[in-house]
């Protein structure tokens, strides 16, 4: 199962490598989103600093949704969803592989976004460990939830709009927890950042369990 999952992830990364969508479009776009926020808020510095944690995760959500869209477009574009469904690889491996592929791309995205937020919004990092742990947890949760919702919208003609509609509410708790944990890590609030960070790991674990069991059902389609 693991071998097959790695196979799927490697293939996805290779597709990314050939088309360079993450690095070429999504990452600049996510940075742009950060800039746009600055515009929308008229560069009110205090405000941006305060909202930095939340904006980071909003940008991840935005860029990540595009990545997930793309991860499933790749599977469905040359005609339809059939090949993915006919795949000789088991459903749990497909799920894990896809999630891994998305995870790595989102990590990459965050490696660009992180410094962006620090520079643009002028934040100060108090607690590195918490920061990294919550980034990890949030990204894991994001990837598995994303792949679950992604496959539900995959292959449909309305996927581009249905995916975010399903994904955003499901991810709202992650967004929330991520923002609070980051704010703690930035020293903006004294609250228990670790609780939030662990919440994200719990969400990730739950959805992984659901995905491994249910991905087979989700692949079926009328």
């Amino acid at each position: 199962m693991l071998r097959e999952a790695l196979l799927v992830a490697r293939k996805d990364l290779r597709v990314e490598w050939r088309s360079k969508v993450t690095i070429g479009h999504v990452a600049p776009l996510a940075l742009l989103v950060l800039v746009v926020f600055a515009f929308a808020f008229d560069a009110n510095a205090g405000l941006l600093e305060f909202g930095a944690g939340g904006l980071y995760w909003v940008a991840v959500l935005f860029g990540g949704t595009l990545l997930i869209q793309r991860a499933f477009d790749v599977e469905t574009e040359d005609g339809n969803f059939d090949a993915f469904r006919m795949s000789a690889i088991g459903a749990p491996s497909l799920f894990l592989g896809k999630s891994l592929g998305v995870f790595i791309q989102v990590v990459f995205l965050e490696l660009i976004l992180g410094p962006g937020v620090v520079l643009l919004y002028n934040v100060r990092i108090d607690d590195w460990v918490l920061l990294l742990a919550s980034a990890l947890g949030g990204t894991l949760a994001f990837s598995v939830c994303g792949v679950l919702c992604g496959v539900m919208a995959a292959g449909l003609r309305v996927r581009a709009t249905l995916l975010p509609l399903l994904l955003v509410p499901v991810l709202a708790p992650v967004l929330l927890a991520g923002s609070r944990a980051f704010e703690t890590a930035f020293g903006l609030r004294a609250e228990a950042g670790w609780t939030w960070a662990s919440l994200m790991f719990v969400i990730a674990a739950v959805h992984t369990a659901v995905g491994v069991r249910a991905f087979g059902f989700l692949l079926e389609e009328g």
């Binding site: 309305v158 509609l165 509410p169 709202a172 059902f217 389609e221």
Partner: protein, 253 residues
């Protein structure tokens, strides 16, 4: 000549008519109790009467979503050996979710009206309000998934998984007042704690909950039957379609 409707093709039975009547009576009584019998609040004045719709509605919505998740789980894991392939669970999940969304909507609307009176604005960025709106949209997404054109069984499976994922937001709404500092009321009725409201208000609230429950069950039963009838209609249309397809081909040949 008027045709006697086939009993299969009606959404009402004697039992549900009784249920409907009871629901109607209960609502009238609830109105009486809420608007006339129970007193105005010391702080909130007349506005407090909103409580009797606001709070039971969201409880019913919670209940409906629990039902949705439960039926969805059964549909996913326990339907293999049912003669109907678990369609029953699926229909129940769908109709409960619809009713849940409606009542969550009622809470939102009454809450906003209430907010206008007590806080002076329709909306506050308060954790409970925000999470409630999220819950509402989550299930809108679920319903959007159910409306996709696809084979009912397969669509049902997708929707069922979505229902399980979506449920996470219910406890978040409920506990939001404890997890965050909020403007919104903390839980005033909960197991193992002394109720903070008393007397007529307490009883009126309990009674309204009962009344709303009856109304919701009535709605769910009807929605269930409508869905069932739609399926029956599709099945019958299918037989006709098969027949016409064969006829068409014979004509061509």
């Amino acid at each position: 000549m008027t045709q006697v409707p086939d009993s299969r093709h009606m959404t009402a039975t004697t039992a549900t008519r009784v249920l409907g009547t009871v629901a109607l009576v209960a609502v009238v009584l609830m109105g009486l109790l809420g608007l006339v019998v129970s007193p105005a609040d010391v702080v909130q004045g007349q506005a407090v009467r909103m409580l009797y719709l606001h709070v039971p509605s969201i409880w019913i919505a919670y209940g409906a979503f629990v039902l949705t998740s439960f039926s969805s789980a059964l549909f996913l894991f326990r339907s293999r050996h049912r003669h109907d392939g678990g369609r029953h669970h699926d229909r129940l999940a769908g109709s409960a979710a619809e009713v849940g969304v409606v009542f969550a909507g009622v809470t939102l609307v009454t809450g906003m009206l209430w907010g206008r009176v007590t806080w002076g604005t329709y909306w506050q960025w308060d954790a409970r309000l925000t999470t409630t709106v999220l819950l509402f949209v989550t299930y809108l997404g679920y319903l959007a998934l159910r409306r996709l054109p696809a084979d009912p069984v397969i669509r049902g499976r997708r929707a069922a998984v979505m229902a399980l994922i979506s449920f996470v937001n219910v406890p978040i709404v409920h506990f939001s007042v404890d997890w965050w500092r909020t403007l919104h009321q903390k839980a005033s009725l909960s197991v193992g704690r002394r109720p903070e409201i008393t007397g007529e208000m307490y009883w009126t609230l309990l009674y309204s909950t009962l009344a709303v429950t009856i109304v919701a069950s009535w709605l769910i039963v009807h929605r269930y039957r409508v869905i069932r009838l739609e399926e029956l209609r599709d099945e019958e249309a299918l037989e006709a379609l098969i027949a016409s397809r064969l006829r068409e081909d014979e004509a061509q040949a």
